[in-house]
């Protein structure tokens, strides 16, 4: 039956080949991009060109001038600002600190993230819960991270000193951030704390793509756990590790929020990294030209890393693709041709060497114990500081500045939350100016976050479709890489032109201004996320819809958008969180409570430092980490999807 069937088929093929007009080319045509594809990406590319391209060009123009903040006169100096920076010892010192900071962060977060990923890759009871806890330090706003850790390290009454005191180790306490080099290390450690979860997520994705048979094969081939890690797992993760190191390095180049909160470049200039030096020059000394030049060095560094990544990435990946049954050996198996006697097995191999250090049950038990211990340490590392923040927000304000310090509160109270949430009614408490700003700032954060994420996802949705379907066409490939490049642009470089333009357009202190500024990083992000979603939708669905009589627009609205709805939700949630946590733009582009968002108000507590304000500040911080924590626990996969779409969070 099968033989005749094949014959019929062969006949059919020949008939077709004969009937085909000879002029028609046999090889597949090059992909033709329909006009609507350009239409779908146009709004996104246009907006990105305006809110990213424009400021980048303007910032470069600015860097060629010397500006006088008082006379407001601009003087063209060519590359004088760059030359001045290169000739400046402070610049090189800042570069040195930047490199140290980035190196520390890279090594620390990669090692820690690897440990987290290896633990989370195992199946065990409570894995989902542990993953949620691990994600929190990354999901919460860097401002809250800074607030938390600056209190932990605070000299006289800080949590770490308090903990040592409680344990009777008070003599080891010291002004943690007082010493320059120690401060740099501690800030870098804080960066590790907040970055390691992202590394862990990306490594986890790599681990889960590794076929289990590889691990088992290596096991049978005699490799122990350590040998397996280095010989099999680590090489498998190589592409992931490359991407991670680029992302981590760029993120630490752009680190700004935690520096602003924790050390402000001090003590002395000990934590003045390049980004801080640029910020200081441009926004404290108001020397826009010089500041722009410094920040352009930062941008160039980021782009350089990004280009290194692109170059390496575009080389072919050497991972084995699952063998396809259809395309296979053209020549018959060589074996079949072999008739001669096989070569006799050489006797060169000794007896099988059995490694038996410990009896199997004992080594299993030891491994299990070590695993539980490691999982527990990771839990403590991730959750303990956050729990301490919650505890501090429930502690009476006066407890927080006790000497000698202690972590044990005298009583638990909701007074701090009362102060920041209902400032008008709290007659019996002295509600400060800053605390009174919290409710409006939460409202602002919500409005800005909701608007910008809906707008960006609506535009990015259509662009993502075209990128997924026509990503191979030259125009789309180029603009896709351009979009990724904008993700690598330090926000500090963009914020300066934004600031200058907004002053003339009177967009300073408006929520609209923030929405426009945020779309500069959220629009590329949402387009990128939606693209990876559409890539998971089979092309045949488009074709079926078109054959069934849809126009391309009804194909999108009736067929594709319902299919990618989970992706849309993920993108909206992720963009909302990114906007909610954003600090730099909000800090520079707002100066009155009218449009300030919650991170800015929290940072305001620190600049108007009054001791009794710590309680409300922690309460505000807890409120600010509420949305990220809720997402981490209840919509974790949205967070993970956002992170894996190449999200770079500064």
């Amino acid at each position: 039956m099968s033989a005749t069937g094949a014959l019929d088929k062969a006949d059919g093929v020949t008939a077709q080949a004969v009937n085909r007009p000879l002029a028609q080319p046999l090889r597949p045509q090059r992909m033709r991009v329909p006009g609507f594809a350009y239409l779908t990406v146009a709004p996104t590319l246009l907006v990105v060109a305006i809110v990213v391209g424009g400021p980048l060009v303007y910032s470069f123009y600015l860097s060629l001038h010397r500006t006088n903040p008082i006379t407001k006169k601009w003087l063209f100096v060519g590359f004088g600002n760059y030359a001045a920076a290169i000739g400046n010892a402070d610049f090189w010192a800042a570069i040195g600190r930047t490199v140290y900071f980035a190196g520390f962060t890279l090594v620390g977060s990669t090692m820690l993230g690897m440990a987290m990923a290896l633990v989370l890759n195992q199946r065990f009871l409570g894995r989902g819960l542990l993953r949620s806890f691990v994600l929190i330090p990354w999901a919460m706003a860097p401002v809250s991270v800074g607030v938390l850790w600056s209190f932990v390290y605070a000299g006289d009454y800080g949590a770490l000193t308090g903990l040592l005191d409680d344990l009777g180790l008070g003599r080891y306490a010291m002004p943690w951030l007082g010493d320059g080099f120690r401060a740099l290390n501690l800030v870098a450690l804080t960066q590790v704390w907040s970055q390691a979860p992202l590394t862990a997520l990306m490594l986890l994705a790599g681990l889960q793509s590794m076929p289990d048979s590889l691990r088992r094969a290596a096991m049978l081939d005699g490799a122990g756990p350590v040998a397996r890690f280095f010989a099999i797992t680590l090489p498998w993760l190589k592409p992931n590790l490359l991407f991670i190191s680029i992302v981590t390095t760029i993120n630490s180049l752009m680190a700004f929020d935690i520096l602003w909160i924790m050390t402000r470049g001090g003590p002395g200039a000990a934590t003045t990294v390049l980004s801080w030096l640029g910020y200081l020059t441009a926004f404290q000394f108001l020397r826009f030209g010089e500041g722009a030049a410094l920040l352009y060095f930062l941008t160039a560094l980021s782009f350089l890393l990004a280009i290194v990544y692109f170059v390496v990435f575009s080389q072919r990946s050497r991972r084995v693709h699952p063998p396809s049954a259809a395309v296979d050996d053209a020549q018959p198996a060589l074996l079949a041709a072999r008739v001669r006697k096989p070569p006799a097995p050489p006797a060169s191999l000794g007896a099988y060497r059995v490694r038996r250090a410990l009896p199997a049950p004992l080594s299993r038990a030891l491994g299990r114990g070590g695993f539980i211990l490691l999982a527990f340490i990771i839990f403590l590392w991730s959750a303990l500081p956050v729990l301490a923040l919650v505890l501090m927000s429930l502690t009476p304000a006066s407890d927080l500045i006790r000497t000698p310090p202690t972590l044990v509160p005298s009583t638990l109270t909701l007074q701090n939350f009362h102060t920041v949430l209902l400032p008008q009614s709290g007659a019996q408490f002295s509600t400060s100016v800053q605390a009174r700003r919290v409710p409006l700032s939460i409202f602002n954060s919500f409005v800005v976050g909701a608007s910008v994420s809906v707008i960006c996802v609506a535009l990015g949705l259509f662009a993502g479709y075209a990128f997924a379907r026509f990503g191979k066409a030259r125009f789309f490939r180029a603009s896709l890489w351009a979009l990724l490049l904008t993700r690598m642009t330090p926000a500090l470089t963009l914020v300066l032109p934004f600031f200058i333009c907004y002053r003339t357009l009177s967009l300073i202190d408006t929520r609209t201004g923030l929405i426009i500024a945020y779309s500069s990083f959220l629009l590329p992000l949402s387009a990128w996320m939606m693209r990876s979603y559409f890539e998971g939708v089979p092309m045949s669905l488009d074709r079926a819809a078109l054959i069934d009589g849809c126009s391309w627009f009804t194909m999108m609205t009736r067929v594709l958008i319902p299919v990618v709805r989970p992706g849309i939700v993920a993108a909206i949630i992720f963009c909302f969180l990114a906007s909610w946590n954003e600090f730099l733009f909000a800090l520079i582009l707002t100066s009155t409570p009218q449009a300030q968002t919650i991170p800015v108000v929290i940072s305001g507590f620190l600049s108007q430092a009054q001791f009794y304000e710590y309680g409300p500040m922690f309460a505000a911080s807890v409120l600010s980490i509420l949305p990220p924590v809720l997402v981490a626990f209840f919509f974790q996969r949205f967070l993970v999807q956002g992170a894996l779409s190449g999200a770079v969070k500064g």
Partner: protein
């Protein structure tokens, strides 16, 4: 090479049992296949032998030595995985050398062994390629090479042919069988393809739902299946199974009568002691050397074979008969074979 003894091995994942008190004796140098539908526990049993899965109860012995609590890496077992599990970042040469390196073999010995395995399997042109640059069949050979390169106590194979296309699969199974003969290695081969198992094995273990149904030589299983499951699983097309009351011979409703299509042929008038049924021809399926006939016998389709369907047409009334020694009788309740 070793003999493998499986002594009342049970395994469960949590409360879900997957293997029920299995007993098997795999002789030294034999080619044994585990065959059964997917989910029957055949791969699990293979992984238990390899030590990749722990067993809940029973013992596994190699040449009389208890291996139950020995770690996988110390059992000297090689396994060819369904997806081959070639190390993607290593060249073919490094893949072949990998198990030897972890045995701390001398560099010279490693070179000799790799050269031997490459020669045996025709891998010499590919030694410096990465697995991604090989075709499916070449990858399969590298996987076999990596498995035999260190002379393992036994070679386990988990559906190693399922990723090859049909014609290559037939060639490769011959080659694996030949390799096994020439090297005299113990092979345990897992497949869901009963034909593959029949062609290759010295002995077949038919499994269903974690229970061993029958363990015997291929043709013995084919000729005397011990129960209805084995009868219908082994042999293609499937054995016809008719209710006892439908079949002649007065077997009654408590019996199932089984006849293989190849034993059932057209007849003009059935012999007195032969198994005979009459029905209406529904379909003729040409299959090259012979034709399959689908015959409607009282509402049930019965498959038969004939060499020459000339003059036959769908709708014709036909009589089929089989010699009485080709008739298998099963108990309807228990499914067990009744005649000997």
């Amino acid at each position: 090479m070793s003999a493998i003894t499986i002594e009342s091995v049970s395994k469960s994942y949590g409360t879900t049992p997957v293997l029920h008190a299995l007993d098997l004796e795999i002789p030294d140098g034999a080619f044994v296949s585990f065959v059964g539908p997917s989910g029957c526990g055949k791969s699990t049993l293979l992984f238990c032998i390899a030590g990749l899965e722990e067993i809940s109860d029973g013992r596994i012995l190699f040449d009389g030595h208890d291996m139950t609590s020995v770690a996988a890496r110390n059992r000297n077992i090689a396994l060819v995985f369904q997806d081959y599990a070639l190390y993607p970042h290593m060249s073919v040469r490094e893949n072949l050398a990998f198990p030897l390196r972890h045995q701390k073999a001398e560099e010279q010995a490693i070179a000799t062994q790799v050269a031997w395995a490459a020669d045996l399997l025709g891998l010499n042109p590919f030694l410096d390629r990465s697995p991604a640059e090989l075709s499916g069949g070449q990858r399969q050979r590298v996987a076999v090479g990596r498995a035999i390169v260190r002379h393992p106590a036994a070679l386990l194979m988990d559906e190693p042919l399922s990723n090859l296309d049909a014609s290559l699969r037939v060639k490769t199974r011959t080659e694996i069988k030949r390799l096994q003969r020439e090297l005299k290695i113990t092979v345990v081969f897992v497949t869901h393809d009963q034909e593959e198992a029949m062609v290759m094995s010295d002995r077949i273990a038919v499994m269903n739902n974690g229970v061993l149904q029958q363990f015997d030589e291929p043709m013995k299983i084919y000729r005397t299946p011990l129960n209805v499951f084995v009868a219908s699983f082994i042999g293609s097309p499937q054995m016809n199974l008719l209710p006892g009351e439908m079949a002649p011979g007065g077997h009654g409703p408590r019996r199932l009568v089984g006849v293989r299509p190849h034993d059932l042929a057209l007849t003009a008038n059935g012999g007195s002691d032969a198994f005979t049924v009459t029905g209406e021809l529904a379909l003729i399926e040409p299959a090259g050397p012979l034709h399959y006939l689908d015959v409607d016998v009282g509402g049930q389709l019965v498959k038969a074979t004939c060499a020459d369907p000339n003059g036959l047409f769908p709708g014709a009334a036909v009589t089929l008969s089989a010699p009485v020694q080709a008739v298998h009788l099963f108990d309807r309740e228990s499914g067990l074979r009744v005649n000997s």
